[in-house]
């Protein structure tokens, strides 16, 4: 591992056996044998691996509190972990840490249709929440592409998004309450079934804090009634600019689509070859617009979007006539990762957010960089919310290419920040973008955030070494590495 992590505490490492014995008195689920803890040595950012001292899988809030309190009193670092699907290395263990896995917190505690919410333990998967309420026609709105496997607790830690963020918000806009344990073992309940809570908005702060402020042990999330109708339009353009203008025009005309996705030519070809989605092959840019609402509303909006696309020189357009057709529109897009795995031995997935109107500018710059570095790139863009995912192709058998790909990725993120965007839209900073944080924040900003961290964890024991740079420099280290299409969770679509 080349990435610098906090220095290991020799006292803790030397006391390893006693720590394990003590933890066994608190929890009956302590893993420490090499083969037992190997599955926990990495998360979705598989390029980095590290085994912890031990893995504890607590089953109750009281157990979590006791484990944290023990670690606090004995200066042992703790790394929390949900399903381990995160893409930025937020759950990467440290050599001298105890990994607290929330996998046994896997029950839905209450489905409350009268108050339109679900109370669940944090290890429940995102999709399981929707599954628990769909018989009444409800669903949980944020839909990260890993929703079949990622946990709701992890969603809160990362403030996960999905393709419907523009209309329905990200996790932070859909959480009503949490129970969480601070590093010293204090258990706090924040929010609940009501909308506004007492004092500072700790719920908003904890969401997206990447496991640095507390360990979530229970969540209450808002559920929504499924829209009556969902339809999509597939629109092709001869230039990226035209598709960008079309997106701007749709929004200016007062339409808030449920989802809007743009793919560039390399990705259209790769995904259509792979998924046989029936995409037009002679366009530079393909836009998918999904609209939901009542039936008549969706029909009206589809007509409007088609009109707008014609005015923006669309060379191809097709509205879905059935749900099967709508799903086929998405089929290619959702296969972006495996599709690229076929045409390139390895690739890195980046995750920046940019103002929507900068799309053509940023893509133009990315293509220039692609030439400069001599590496291929394909792009998908959540046009609704400005979240860009360039996929940089390289071959890890050539060590020089890996370094080039990482530099290329860092250059892209820096350019995103330069045009008014941000380093990460939904994957989190973790260790992956940690050392780029000073591209966006100055020392005052970072110091303020670090002081806030101390208010929750004054010994800096909870998930240290993540999100904030350890060194005062902006190094370019590590991205999501995918070798031969094999990710840690190969079945999960990643976009």
């Amino acid at each position: 591992m080349t990435l610098q992590m906090p220095q290991a505490d020799e006292l803790v490492l030397n006391n390893k056996e006693n720590i394990i014995l003590d933890l066994k008195k608190i929890s009956s689920n302590v893993l420490f044998e090499n083969e037992e803890i190997t599955p926990y040595e990495t998360d979705g950012l598989t390029a980095y691996k590290q085994k912890p001292i031990a893995v504890v899988l607590p089953e109750t809030t009281d157990e979590v509190s006791k484990v944290l309190s023990y670690c606090f009193n004995n200066n042992v670092k703790v790394v929390p972990r949900g399903a381990g699907t995160g893409l930025s290395g937020g759950a990467l263990p440290l050599q001298d840490c105890i990994l607290v896995g929330l996998g046994k917190f896997n029950k839905i505690l209450e489905t409350d249709f009268e108050n339109r919410c679900v109370v669940a333990q944090p290890g429940v998967t995102n999709l399981a929440i929707t599954n628990a309420v769909q018989h009444e026609g409800f669903y949980y709105a944020p839909d990260p592409s890993s929703q079949i496997a990622c946990s709701i607790g992890g969603n809160i830690a990362e403030n996960s998004g999905g393709v419907h963020s523009l209309k329905y918000g990200t996790t932070t806009n859909n959480v009503l309450g949490v129970e969480m344990v601070l590093m010293d073992g204090t258990v706090l309940r924040i929010g609940g079934k009501n909308l506004d809570s007492e004092g500072y908005d700790l719920l908003g702060l904890i969401t997206g804090s990447e496991g640095l402020l507390g360990v979530i042990t229970e969540v209450t999330v808002k559920i929504l009634k499924k829209p009556q109708s969902v339809r999509a339009v597939l629109i092709g353009f001869d230039t990226i600019e035209d598709s960008g203008n079309c997106v701007a025009d749709i929004i200016s005309k007062g339409i808030v689509p449920a989802g809007m996705e743009i793919m560039d030519r390399p990705l259209i070809k790769a995904t259509d070859d792979y998924a046989k989605a029936g995409y037009p092959r002679d366009v530079e840019s393909l836009l998918i617009v999904e609209l939901d609402g009542t039936e008549s509303e969706v029909d009206i909006l589809i007509e409007k979007v088609l009109e707008i696309s014609k005015a923006n020189k669309a060379s191809y357009h097709r509205a879905s006539a059935s749900d099967e057709e709508r799903l086929r529109f998405w089929k290619g897009r959702k296969a972006a990762f495996p599709a690229l795995g076929v045409i390139s031995p390895d690739y890195i997935c980046m995750d920046g957010s940019i103002p929507r109107n900068k799309l053509a500018d940023v893509l133009g710059e990315i293509y220039k960089m692609s030439k400069k570095y001599g590496l291929g790139v394909a792009n998908c863009f959540h046009a609704g919310d400005g979240n860009l995912h360039p996929l940089i192709m390289y071959d890890s058998n050539n060590p020089k290419e890996l370094k080039k790909a990482e530099e290329f990725g860092a250059d892209i993120l820096k350019y995103c920040v330069k045009v008014g965007g941000v380093l990460t839209g939904e994957h989190g900073v973790g260790i992956e973008k940690r050392d780029l944080m000073c591209e966006m924040f100055n020392d005052n900003d970072i110091q303020q955030q670090l002081r806030l961290k101390k208010a929750f964890d004054d010994k800096n024991l909870l998930n240290p070494g993540k999100v904030y740079p350890i060194l005062h420099r902006c190094a370019e280290e590590g991205r999501i590495h995918i070798h031969k299409g094999k990710t840690k969770f190969p079945d999960l679509p990643r976009f």
Binding site: L166, N194, G208, Q228, G254
Partner: protein, 410 residues
């Protein structure tokens, strides 16, 4: 150092706070000074932000507006309106409550109090619409967080923390708000003569449909006569359900509401103009216009709303008759407490109710004695207070920004 300081820009705010921190001089932060929410505090210095105003950047197609923190909320709303856009959280005009006339105050003031209107249950609170900010912390350092994009997980989301912090963490200088398109059309379906329990049941029924209701409130019979609308009978209790969107869809959905509630004896429909006016009057608390009494809002689980109403608002058997109304499809009860007893017993009882049912009270108007001595929030647990105090110190180590505004001693 004492008196009123009126900085012209962010760097002057920073210099002033840095000097005040050095000399341990507390500061009361004042925007338009239109809202008397929070504990009453006395500081030797006032930081008057009147000059920190103006639109910095409005990008309609990017769905955001960047303004200096003390820009007038009305100015922002008017500008957005000119492009058929709006603030999704539906800003509330507290002017009626305090002065009997319109005064939206400043954007920063609304953010400081996290004030959201009737669309809150559908569109989120103000805090959900604050995308980023620049501010000066209690050490005089200029800090920033967030950005102009909706999807952003780069670092802690401090926007959430400053929204509703009553100016105790930092002094906002510039803010970015998410904007949304105005709906093309809206109508409001009215059901008369329901009691509070029937109203809660009606909310529940309609929230289980996919009709996308964007406003759901209930005014009882004793708190309805301030509405003066041609199409609204203001002699009965009123339950109102707002439907917004393309005209054809609105008309269809209102017709669905008519079928769902076909057994109701008396209903009516407020069309576009009257519908808009209705929600403005309701959201702006015109029912409590210039109230001499204590006014509080209680955010609770909708299923607890009726029990709250029975205990504290309306029970003829035990002689309770406080003016109230229900908003957010049952998630919010507004109450005006008449004839406040000197021991504030009813407030303590409400706080107890809130603690027991995991609800939250905020007193938005009260007398000077109560504001000086009592707590306007429910009552945080010791652990929460201790964390609150540590968070405050992480932004404002000398505790000079609005000290005591939220909690005594913090």
């Amino acid at each position: 150092m004492s008196g009123v300081f009126q900085p012209a820009n962010e760097s002057q705010i920073s210099d002033f706070i840095r000097d005040s921190a050095k000399s341990n001089n507390p500061i009361e932060v004042v925007g338009y000074n239109t809202k008397a929410i929070g504990r009453y505090i006395q500081c030797s210095q006032t930081l008057d932000l009147s000059k920190i105003k103006g639109i910095v950047e409005y990008m309609p197609e990017e769905l955001y507006i960047k303004v200096c923190a003390n820009t007038s909320m009305l100015e922002v709303m008017d500008l957005l309106k000119s492009k058929k856009q709006m603030l999704g959280f539906e800003p509330v005009d507290y002017g009626y409550l305090y002065y009997g006339k319109s005064n939206y105050g400043s954007v920063g003031g609304a953010i400081g109090c996290n004030l959201s209107g009737s669309r809150r249950f559908k569109a989120g609170a103000l805090r959900d619409h604050l995308l980023g900010f620049r501010a000066v912390n209690g050490s005089g350092e200029i800090i920033k967080s967030g950005g102009t994009v909706v999807k952003n997980v780069t670092g802690y989301d401090l926007s959430k923390l400053v929204a509703g912090s009553y100016g105790t963490l930092s002094v906002l200088s510039e803010v970015v708000l998410k904007v949304l398109p105005e709906p093309e059309y809206s109508e409001t379906f009215i059901i008369y003569n329901l009691d509070s329990l029937q109203a809660i049941n009606a909310f529940s029924k309609v929230m289980k449909t996919s009709l996308e209701i964007s406003g759901a409130c209930y005014f009882p019979k004793n708190n309805i006569n301030f509405f003066r609308l041609n199409d609204l009978d203001n002699t009965h209790s009123v339950l109102a359900l707002r439907v917004e969107g393309p005209k054809k869809s609105v008309i269809e959905r209102v017709s669905s509401l008519q079928s769902i509630f076909k057994e109701m004896k008396k209903t009516t429909i407020l069309e576009l103009y009257q519908s808009k006016l209705f929600w403005k009057i309701a959201s702006n608390l015109e029912c409590f216009s210039n109230s001499p009494n204590v006014v509080a809002k209680i955010s609770l689980a909708p299923t607890d709303a009726n029990s709250f109403v029975k205990q504290f608002c309306d029970d003829s058997i035990i002689g309770i008759n406080n003016k109230y109304f229900i908003d957010w499809a049952g998630g919010l009860v507004w109450i005006e407490i008449d004839n406040l007893d000197p021991s504030y017993l009813i407030i303590e009882k409400i706080k107890k109710f809130c603690t027991q049912s995991n609800a939250h009270m905020t007193i938005v108007k009260s007398n000077m004695t109560y504001r000086s001595t009592g707590s306007f929030l429910t009552s945080a647990s010791d652990d929460l207070k201790s964390l609150t105090s540590r968070i405050k110190k992480s932004f404002d180590p000398k505790s000079i920004l609005n000290p005591g505004k939220m909690y005594a001693g913090i």
